[in-house]
Symmetry: C2
Amino acid sequence: MKSEVFEVQAEYFKALSHPVRIKILYYLKKGERCVCEIVPYLKEEQSNVSRHLAALKRAGILSSRKEGVSVYYRVEDENVYKIVDLALCSVKKVAREKVALLS
Amino acid sequence: MKSEVFEVQAEYFKALSHPVRIKILYYLKKGERCVCEIVPYLKEEQSNVSRHLAALKRAGILSSRKEGVSVYYRVEDENVYKIVDLALCSVKKVAREKVALLS
DNA sequence: TGATTATATGATTAAATGCTCATATAGTAT
DNA sequence: ATACTATATGAGCATTTAATCATATAATCA
């Protein structure tokens, strides 16, 4: 496999490597949301949220559309949910195995 | 979902967010490998590789066993391959859609 | 025992990331 | 036009990450 491929994958995972960004993804699970909804939901600074959204968009994970003064973000490819869910399952599985080894 | 869950997921993805670490994963796809094989394969400094391996192990993605003076690393849960493959597919899909939009 | 080899780790530095405050931009309304 | 609101972005700072060099540790061998 070409080394550029690894870089592309690493970039994708870097976009997912922050808890606020993961939280945004789950919040968008049922469909697009306006920034004006996302900010109060996260209880983070507006400028900070804006940057997290930009990071996810840069990675191609989110896309956005403008409606008047509002901006709506949505998940570009639902496969991201398979990825984050699998990651959680894997972490749980490994943790369970560790527990089993100790008992 | 609890916020600790997002942190756990983010930690997992942080471990995957470097091209060298992704490359290590694919190299271990067929089974465990000694550090003495991994280092020349990657053509990176030994100390650097050691830290990347440690990062993957800390995240529970790899485990290791010692045999004499050698250390063998292996993938702890094969699901990680579903994750990295899905990520690549998703990036490709989004890229194709962008191309389609432009043509 | 001392020498050699494999791997890990401490210290340093450079670069990247995340957060905050302040400000810019753009759309809407008066 | 001015004022107001929603969102994005620049600048500064603190923290984290990655790379490198040097050294430590531990196993093996002569």
